[in-house]
């Protein structure tokens, strides 16, 4: 079940739309923040709160890449490897994360500290290669500064 704060947040979101169904995407964001990822429990909570079938909630959520379908590390690395980032060395960064942190694309580090998701363009092409760690942009990455940046995320 949702916390009362989360219920209140979803109810406020609902007022922005003419029907409850339209609040589904924002409600899923609330759910993954509350539950850490979109577990069965999270789907049921969203479904009950909005009066939408659980199967519909899950069907919609699994369409979108940014809803978490499994437990994640404490910090989420979203690294872009699309063309602009690839031209400037994003693949080397993927290799570096593999050797240095044991991170496979889509995987989680063994200490549970990081998850890695490969992204399809995060709009930082002029400062490529780039990544998001949680909500923060990090740009002009090299192996060296990538390591320095990640050290800040305990």
């Amino acid at each position: 079940m949702f916390s009362s704060a989360a219920i209140q947040e979803i109810e406020e979101i609902r007022t922005k739309y003419p029907n409850a169904r339209a609040a589904l995407l924002p409600a899923l964001y609330v759910a993954q923040r509350e539950f850490g990822w979109l577990s069965r429990k999270a789907y049921v909570a969203v479904a009950e709160q909005l009066g939408v079938p659980t199967a519909t909630v899950r069907g919609v959520a699994t369409f979108y890449a940014m809803y978490k379908q499994k437990p994640m590390g404490r910090h989420l690395i979203q690294l872009c490897t699309n063309v602009s980032c690839m031209l400037l060395g994003a693949e080397r960064l993927v290799d570096f994360l593999k050797t240095k942190y044991g991170l496979e694309p889509g995987g989680i580090s063994s200490d549970g500290r990081f998850s890695l998701v490969i992204m399809e363009c995060i709009g930082a092409c002029g400062t490529a290669p780039a990544m998001l760690v949680n909500d923060d942009f990090h740009e002009n990455l090299t192996e060296k500064n990538l390591q320095d940046i990640l050290e800040k995320y305990a």
Binding site: K16, P18, N19, R21, A22, A23, L24, L25, P26, L28, Y29, V52, G59, V60, F63, Y64, A65, M66, Y67, Q78, T81, N82, V83, S84, M86, L87, L88, M119, E120, C121, I122, G123, A124, C125, G126, T127, A128, L132, D135, D136, F137
Partner: protein, 420 residues
């Protein structure tokens, strides 16, 4: 040229309403709300403003269709789902100049007699979400959004709707589906969103950059605005340049600036003095150009004549060290990942093209692979619900058209012929 869209963004507090007003912001709202909605549409028509999302559709025409529909309420949606790879032109507006967009949306809302607006923001821009929400709150607090704006009896409500990482939601009917709480799969057209859009009501979907032109058009008038750029495509354009140039970044220049000048004059030429090999001029979906085709005006009319498209104005520059088989393969991986799965030519076609390009890149290409790719592409082009499939097919067709020998050598040598 004075900057209009990226005005004042060097100011570290540019996203704050006080700074925006200090720089002359929100003067156009007052002027526009004193005009009849039709007068606003007429000014936009005189300005010749075209949509900046990629299609270049005349804005006044779209507005006229929605305005003429008798159904109410009407909705104004801002497409901030900037996902076309290579594109980062809307991000500075969203993060640094949010009040310009809000002002543009209130003006547009008035023109359309729309009382509700949503900014559909891509999930990959978390900072922009916070900045926009703070700016919207400031606008409400200053009676620039909400009921009876500036005492003019006009209502416009605005909120941010965050996407969740689906490129396809940049397509306007997919965006509408997503806003309604569904999978972002495009709708068949007609009916068009101007008649049956979000919540089955008349809906205008305009790009961030498009809407951000409105305050200036109202300030100086359509005729003065139309003097910027080219007669067929007036106004300023934000070009975003990435890849192998000395100074990548965003450049606000008149529409019709030549591609060659963007690369060599504004961006300082090819990085490290290397040789230019290829340019993708308008985001990854637009046809690639070889170096002898870059002396061309960047606008919606001249780029198609030159064999490509303006797209989002996202210029990706590649030097001589780049393996184009690899670039094409990466592009198709993207399209396969982002195909929504609704129609089979796109769902199957992107997968097969990716697979063939993958085996060529891995040194397992076979004789006939190029023709197979051309046949698959031909079976996608014009046969899909939305332009994603067309984009994927034309990427392959144009890489082969301009760089076929490199693909052939790759297949014959069974390895990369550029980087060994």
């Amino acid at each position: 040229m004075e900057t209009i869209l990226l005005k004042n963004i060097q100011n570290p507090n540019s996203a704050d309403i006080t700074e925006y007003k200090k720089a002359g912001g929100y003067a156009s709202i007052r002027k526009a709300l004193g005009m009849e909605p039709q007068q606003v549409i007429d000014e936009v028509k005189k300005a010749g403003l075209r949509g900046r999302g990629g299609a270049g559709f005349p804005v006044a025409m779209k507005w006229t269709f929605a305005s003429a529909d008798p159904k109410f309420p009407k909705y104004l949606l801002c497409n901030a789902d900037e996902g076309e790879p290579g594109t980062f032109k809307d991000r500075p507006i969203l993060e640094k100049n949010p009040h310009l967009l809000i002002e543009g949306m209130v003006i547009s809302g008035h023109a359309l007699k729309a009382e509700y607006g949503y900014i559909y923001l891509r999930g990959e821009y978390p900072a922009a979400k916070h900045i926009l929400n703070a700016a919207i709150k400031q606008a409400y607090d200053n009676n620039l959004l909400g009921e009876n704006i500036l005492g003019k009896g006009i209502t416009f409500h605005l909120s941010v709707h965050q996407g969740a990482g689906a490129y396809i939601c940049g397509e306007e009917t997919a965006l509408i589906e997503s806003l309604e709480g569904d999978k972002g799969q495009p709708r068949i057209k007609p009916p068009f969103p101007v008649n049956v859009g979000v919540f089955s009501k008349p809906t205008v979907v305009n790009n961030v950059e498009t809407l951000s032109n409105l305050p200036y058009i109202i300030a100086v008038g359509g005729e003065a605005y139309a003097k910027i750029g080219t007669p067929d495509c007036p106004g300023p354009k934000i070009f975003c340049v990435s890849g192998h140039v000395e100074k990548p970044g965003v450049y606000e220049l008149p529409m019709g600036t030549r591609l060659k000048d963007i690369i060599y004059t504004h961006c300082g030429g090819i990085k490290g003095g290397k040789k230019l090999k290829a340019v993708i001029p308008g985001g990854i979906s637009t046809p690639v150009l070889p170096p002898d085709k870059i002396d061309c005006a960047m606008d919606f009319v001249n780029m198609p004549k030159n064999g490509s498209m303006l797209g989002s104005g996202a210029v990706i520059v590649m030097d001589e060290s780049v393996c184009l088989v690899k670039v094409c393969h990466r592009a198709l991986k993207f399209f396969e990942h982002e195909s929504c799965g609704k129609c089979s030519p796109c769902r199957e076609g992107t997968g097969w093209l990716r697979a063939i390009l993958g085996r060529i890149e891995n040194g397992e290409g076979m004789e006939g692979d190029i023709d197979t790719m051309l046949a698959v592409s031909a079976n996608m082009l014009g046969k899909t619900f939305c332009p994603l499939g067309d984009g994927a097919a034309s990427v392959v067709q144009n890489f082969i058209k301009h760089f076929r020998p490199e693909f052939e050598e790759h297949i014959r040598a069974k390895k990369c012929v550029v980087n060994g």
